[in-house]
């Protein structure tokens, strides 16, 4: 029970920290001091206190976007195991719910963007849904590998128990899947080299341009939801790449947090050393990610 509470607390509390760590890493690389680690928390607190401006063209869909986006991310967080600790909610087939919750969030955030009637936001929405079309098969090929390895159809079952031995059995497949999932993670969370959240040219943005018209608490929710999404997918990837267990349940929490922070640093490093790809090349990379994980399952099933 206490582990479940920790799970929920981490899920609710930790995501903004990851953004801070990424920002700090990038600042370090750039030789700047950068914003504080907890900057995102400050931003959120401020946004939830600010007034909002709504466009005259918008409807209830515009407001539903942030709500559904953050709720689905949180719900998905309940399905994913954090480190060696199983998820609070786990059943056969929850991995599909996991993927589809994000799709639901995407449906509403993209619709909300279109609700403004702005060409820029439409552009962003189009890119968001287009790229996830290609990311989704990569994710599922990865799931296939994990499910085949573990013989389980729930996220907890897949990543739990016999999992560390998986590296011994099918290391090659797992490397491919991990690489592919990392690409998916970067795309889905709008990170460089696929998207640059900090650019000031709207024409080239994906996620950020979708939320141009949101303000105040709604924008806060979007920001928070995005952080949760990064946290949840990061947890998945960390568990695959670093399935370490200390033997002590509480020490495992520590390991998990360390792992997540490390992931954030890695993302920060990637963002620092790479330039953003041209938009037209993004699909190519996603297809490559698909092929990576497809190759993973082929290796496993051959």
């Amino acid at each position: 029970m206490s582990h479940i509470i920790v799970h929920i607390l981490l899920l609710l509390g930790m995501p903004p920290l990851l953004l801070g760590v990424i920002g700090k890493t990038k600042a370090l690389f750039a030789g700047r001091v950068g914003p504080p680690l907890f900057q995102t928390y400050y931003d959120l607190a401020k946004l939830f206190r600010k007034g909002s401006v709504f466009s005259t063209t918008t409807t209830w869909v515009f407001r539903a976007g942030p709500v559904v986006g953050s709720v689905t991310a949180l719900l998905a967080g309940l399905l994913v195991p954090l480190g060696s600790h199983g998820a609070p909610v786990s059943f056969s087939g929850d991995l599909i719910l996991f993927a589809y919750l994000f799709a639901l969030g995407r449906f509403f955030t993209a619709s909300a963007a279109l609700d403004t009637g702005s060409a820029f936001e439409g552009m962003g929405a189009a890119r968001e849904v287009t790229f996830s079309c290609l990311a989704e098969p990569a994710l599922f090929f990865g799931f296939l590998v994990l499910a085949k390895l573990s013989g389980s159809l729930s996220l907890t079952g897949m990543l739990d128990g016999p999992f560390p031995s998986g590296w011994g059995v099918a290391g090659a497949s797992l490397v491919l899947v991990a690489a592919s999932l990392f690409i998916v993670l970067l795309v889905e969370n709008s990170r460089i080299p696929f998207d640059d959240p900090n650019t000031h040219l709207e024409l080239t943005m994906i996620h950020e341009v979708m939320v141009l018209d949101h303000s105040g608490p709604a924008l806060g929710m979007i920001l928070y939801g995005a952080a949760v999404k990064l946290f949840v997918m990061g947890a998945l990837l960390t568990r695959i790449v670093a399935p370490f267990e200390s033997g002590n349940a509480w020490a495992d929490w520590g390991l998990f947090i360390t792992g997540m922070l490390a992931l954030a640093v890695i993302i920060g490093v990637v963002e620092s050393v790479m330039a953003r790809f041209r938009l037209v090349f993004v699909p190519t990379f996603l297809v490559a990610a698909c092929l990576l994980s497809a190759f993973g399952i082929v290796l496993l099933l051959r």
Binding site: S55, T57, L75, L97, T116, G122, R127, C133, K148, M221
Partner: protein
């Protein structure tokens, strides 16, 4: 007793359009009577079908009612009746004096014939009902036969329908040759592989043509687009499922399917699904777009059936149960959400007089109820939780994962491509419906028509809401339908009955409900929180901030074509869009136009050219009949000599 209820229901539907024929053309009485008869017929039929649920199946020489029949009968009775109510306003007799009577006559007939197909126990009855259904649908599609494009769509449909019928002739003739009777009974075990394969493939083509499995879908987009919307809803929601019914039925009769049958169905389903939705994304016409989504969903259903066949070949009960249950449930689900979508599309078309997505926009504010229904349908068709589409797709995913040998010793690696394909279908569907929902209902109106639209009346919104309600109920409480699906699976594969495999043990039905309810509760809670915060902090209203551009107009919004462009480019190898792009080089370019159009690859790429070629070939024989009597007499001599030399 129960079978008589069903037959009575069928009779009511069949005759529902007849009284109207004897009324004056401008009188609505006939229409009201038809709707009432349809409702009565549906009530009777549903009562009979539900009454059959817990009873042993009926099987005599003429009719057969088992769980599969019941599963198909319920939407057959429900959706057309609701569509009829919708038609009261949508296709008011007084507004359509020319074709209203014809429409209702065949509307009733098609409903009755569909039900007839599902209860037919012998091939003659099956074929008769089948063809009445096919022909009535033809007359429904060509309701407005003054329009050339409508006639062309109808003609294409008729060709496809007849080709399907001829394939079925062959199927049933082969079946009769094997079993020695016209009854649709399971084939003997010692059947030759060649005959069984021929039956299977012919059935796949014949029923696939009706169902619209890619590449046999050619008739579907045009026909759905040209028919009145409640007819489109009926066709897409129910009629094409009769093709699935036939395929399901024939598959259940064939003993010991080889693995590649299931593989073929899976591959056909995946192709149909991915390409169907890819073509949908590229469409500009609201109803054509929805029609291509039917191709996609038929693909998903076919995948389910393929999975069940793979399961049978592998002797994997769990795959059979999950695959067939998923397919059957998706038959329902697609029936519900696609009907909602077509009906709301009809409401939009009636309000705006255009099917062009890029001329619409901003309708959510003037037609909020329609927009809500469309949104529910859209979320459901994308297979998203907490609605019904998610449930059936979840079954399929579970079965597909299991068929690989996960959690079991025997497996078949051949189905590994299927789950990612299904995932891709889902993601593409999301992209497509964001595009439609956004372009039609959100943003600002792009044309005068869209600006002046009005919300549809009660008779139109009511049926939509009812169907949307079905989507929600199935999505939140799949336990309700699980026993029926189990029965269907047992009826399909009787050797499974009593075996260890029920949906409740194989799929997390309770968790689905729990997750769905949690999701809804959380969304409401978060929504309330957001609204409170917003209200608390104060709001302001202004125009959309367009990155600094001061004078945006509605025409500057991202159009659906622009929205789809990137995805179209991803699929350019199959979509082959025809683009007429402006090439303005001068310093002060004049106004110009950009056009893009995606032809159907099978129809425009293969079928039409081959038809033209065939016509050319046949025309080149015309010289044989050139009016010259000497030549004619010569044929006689020549043929006589040929036959004399025969031996």
């Amino acid at each position: 007793m129960r079978e008589w209820l069903i037959i009575l229901g069928i009779g009511c539907h069949a005759l529902s359009g007849v009284p109207g024929l004897f009324r004056r053309r401008d009188s609505d009485a006939g229409q009201k009577l038809a709707v009432i008869l349809g409702l009565i017929g549906s009530a009777l039929g549903i009562a009979g079908a539900v009454g059959s649920l817990w009873q042993p199946p009926i099987a005599n020489s003429a009719i057969k009612i088992d769980a599969i029949t019941v599963i198909f009968l319920l939407p057959i009775f429900l959706i057309p009746a609701l569509g009829g109510v919708y038609g009261l306003t949508y296709w008011k007799q007084a507004e359509h004096m020319r074709n209203g009577q014809k429409l209702r006559l065949f509307y009733g007939l098609v409903t009755a014939a569909m039900a007839g197909v599902t209860i037919a126990a012998n091939s003659i009855l099956f074929l008769v009902a089948w063809e009445i259904m096919a022909l009535s649908a033809f007359f429904l599609i060509t309701t407005e036969d003054d329009d050339r494009t409508v006639r062309e769509a109808g003609w294409l449909y008729l060709i496809a329908a007849h080709a399907a019928t001829l394939c079925l002739f062959a199927v049933f003739a082969l079946l009769r040759n094997v079993t020695g009777s016209f009854a649709l009974v399971a084939l003997p075990d010692g059947l030759g592989a060649g005959v069984a394969t021929a039956i299977f493939l012919l059935a796949l083509i014949g029923f696939g043509l009706k169902a619209g499995v890619m590449p046999l879908h050619v008739w579907l987009p045009g026909a759905h687009a040209m028919a009145p919307s409640h007819v489109s809803a009926l066709m897409s929601g129910v009629l094409i499922k009769i093709g699935i019914y036939g395929l399901v039925r024939i598959c259940s009769l064939l003993p010991h399917p080889p693995l590649w049958w299931g593989g073929l169905l899976l591959a056909a389903g995946a192709t149909s699904g991915v390409l169907g939705v890819a073509f949908a994304i590229a469409q500009h016409d609201l109803k054509r777009l929805l029609a291509y989504h039917s191709v996609e969903n038929i693909g998903i259903i076919t995948m389910g059936l393929g999975l069940a066949m793979v399961g049978r070949s592998l002797h994997r009960v769990d795959c059979v149960v999950l695959g067939l249950a998923g397919a059957l449930l998706h038959v329902w689900n697609h029936g519900f959400f696609k009907s909602v979508l077509f009906l709301s599309a009809g409401a939009v078309i009636r309000a705006t007089h255009t099917r062009e997505i890029d001329r619409l926009g901003g309708l959510a504010r003037v037609m909020p109820r329609t927009a809500l229904c469309f949104a529910i349908g859209a979320v459901a068709i994308c297979g998203l939780p907490p609605l019904n589409g998610f449930v059936s797709e979840l079954f399929l995913y579970l079965g597909l994962f299991r068929s690989l040998g996960i959690g079991h010793e025997t497996g078949w690696p051949g189905s590994a491509f299927a789950p990612p394909a299904l995932a891709m279908i889902g993601a593409l569907a999301v992209a497509c419906f964001v595009k439609v929902f956004g372009a039609v209902f959100l943003g600002a109106a792009r044309s005068e028509y869209a600006r002046q639209a009005h919300e549809a009346g009660v008779t139109m919104v009511g049926p939509m809401l009812a169907l949307a309600g079905c989507c929600v109920v199935i999505g939140l409480a799949p336990l309700l339908v699980a026993p029926l699906l189990d029965q269907g699976v047992y009826a399909w594969s009787p050797d499974l009955a009593g075996g260890a495999g029920s949906l409740a043990t194989l799929a997390p039905l309770g968790w689905i409900s729990a997750a769905g309810l949690t999701l809804i509760v959380l969304i409401i809670a978060a929504g309330v929180v957001l609204c409170q915060r917003v209200r608390h902090c104060g709001t302001a209203s202004s125009g959309t901030w367009d990155c600094g551009y001061a004078a945006p107009t509605a025409r500057m919004q991202y159009t659906s074509s622009s929205f789809a462009q990137m995805l179209v480019n991803c699929f350019v190898w199959v979509l082959r869009p025809r683009v007429h792009a402006p090439s303005e080089q001068a310093l002060f370019p004049r106004p110009t136009q950009f056009q893009s159009h995606v032809p159907d690859i099978v129809l425009d790429g293969a079928l039409r050219p081959s038809f033209r070629f065939g016509t050319k070939i046949t025309s080149s024989f015309r010289f044989l009949q050139a009016g010259n009597i000497h030549a004619y007499l010569f044929y006689i001599v020549a043929f006589l000599i040929l036959l004399l030399l025969w031996r």
